[in-house]
Symmetry: C2
Subunit: 264 residues, 2 copies
């Protein structure tokens, strides 16, 4: 089966299509590329720090993350990859990755060879723009995280993370009106948020007690989006998911989607 017909590839195609000039021919060319489906167990390394990045991975199912481990042994997760996200754009353009990537859950990934992707990007302007756009969006997302890590409290960061994850899951078709899958352990959340697992636990307790969220059995339910977004200072603009002229207010519309879980 051609990869683009896999239902889980929808998120990836949606990312590509956000580039305004992407044409059908571009997608056809990409569909024809040689690919391989690869599975990673939870905690498996997708690529190591310093890896040459000969392969570009697209997450189809499951969650992956960039990780950096300091000498002290503490770990920071500067980026999460959800369904549809491309993992290894930096290595694609730089020929080396500064940051390892690991699977957080079981991950199914679509694997392209770097050389083939490069050839495709050379020949197809629409694909080129789409990939560069994804790189720029990744920059915008990490920038927003740096701002949160530098200036937001534990509570604000947590609220922001949950808002971002829900928004991204929604965009990938993996959310219901009020919630989505949330397979991260509290320790992994701590590594994203720059906190300890203990403090993550207390912060979550607080948010639960206030009726902002429910988080149970790997599933996040947002009980009060307006309050949560306000607590986070969340504005989805930096994710660049909008279809229109790149403007989007806080808030969202719960619409027409069905129950499509991720990693289930």
């Amino acid at each position: 089966m051609i990869w683009s017909q896999r239902p889980m590839a929808a998120g990836f195609v949606a990312h590509l299509r956000r580039s305004p000039d992407l044409g059908v021919a571009d997608l056809t060319a990409l569909s024809g590329a040689a690919t391989e489906i690869r599975n990673f167990e939870a905690h498996a390394t997708i690529f190591a720090e310093g890896d040459r990045g000969d392969r570009v991975h697209v997450v189809l199912e499951g969650w992956a993350a960039r990780v950096k481990i300091l000498e002290s042994g503490s770990r920071q997760i500067p980026a999460l990859f959800l369904s549809g996200d491309v993992c290894g754009l930096d290595a694609l353009y730089l020929g080396r990755s500064d940051c390892a990537a690991v699977a957080l859950t079981r991950v199914t990934a679509l694997v392209f060879s770097r050389d083939e992707v490069r050839t495709l990007l050379d020949r197809h302007r629409g694909l080129r723009d789409a990939f560069t756009r994804m790189l720029a969006v990744e920059l915008a997302a990490v920038t927003q995280w740096a701002v949160c890590l530098g200036r937001a409290s534990a509570r604000e960061r947590m609220a922001h993370l949950l808002c971002e994850l829900f928004t991204r899951m929604d965009a990938a078709g993996g959310a219901t009106a009020k919630g989505c899958a949330m397979p991260l352990t509290q320790e992994e959340m701590a590594d994203v948020l720059g906190l300890t697992a203990v403090h993550v636990n207390r912060t979550l307790q607080g948010m639960r007690a206030e009726g902002l969220i429910t988080l149970r059995d790997q599933r996040l339910t947002i009980e009060d989006w307006a309050l949560l977004a306000r607590a986070a200072g969340f504005d989805a603009g930096y994710l660049h998911l909008g279809h229109g002229p790149e403007t989007r207010a806080v808030g969202r519309s719960a619409d027409h989607r069905g129950e499509v879980g991720i990693g289930v």
Copy 2:
């Protein structure tokens, strides 16, 4: 005078040349682009948050920064632009900037129109690669900062910032063997480091007392590079300044450079 003959453009050209396939024709094409030299006073806005980014700025002299101001009024600086750095790559590819940019000192910038740059990138593969590479390097740099902000202590972050700034200034030809210009106020450093100005002051006092650095009259002198880099856990790899096969150890070689100050 054609901009590429300006002595201050050397840093920009050096950044471009780090892309392996950049040819003379590419540089010639870029040299021929219509440009304008624009000066910004300290604290002037180069572009605002949400700006469409019709112009791409290249810093020739002075320091600029990306800034994000939260509702609480606190400010975070997720990126600094030094001599030779391109300011506005995100808007170039996304058509909108999520983050304002301001001049921290007096800044002299080379201004290209976005449309002209896009046309050039379309026609010249070498330029295209070079610009995309710069975007990827910016991603790598912000990622490294996110890691520091999340997991490093005040002291480690400060040491890391000073190591990075010195290394970048050196690469731009603006450093001597032991030091470089450092025009940031302690409050601006605090906004980079995610700290308060008071704590920045105390952290600097500590590092001075230990003989790691001297910081006086807008000038940084690194008294013990090995100790400072160790305190920071600094490895310059993420800056992607290397000429060779993208590998570079900690440490550096003090060499052949003269006294070329920035903003003097």
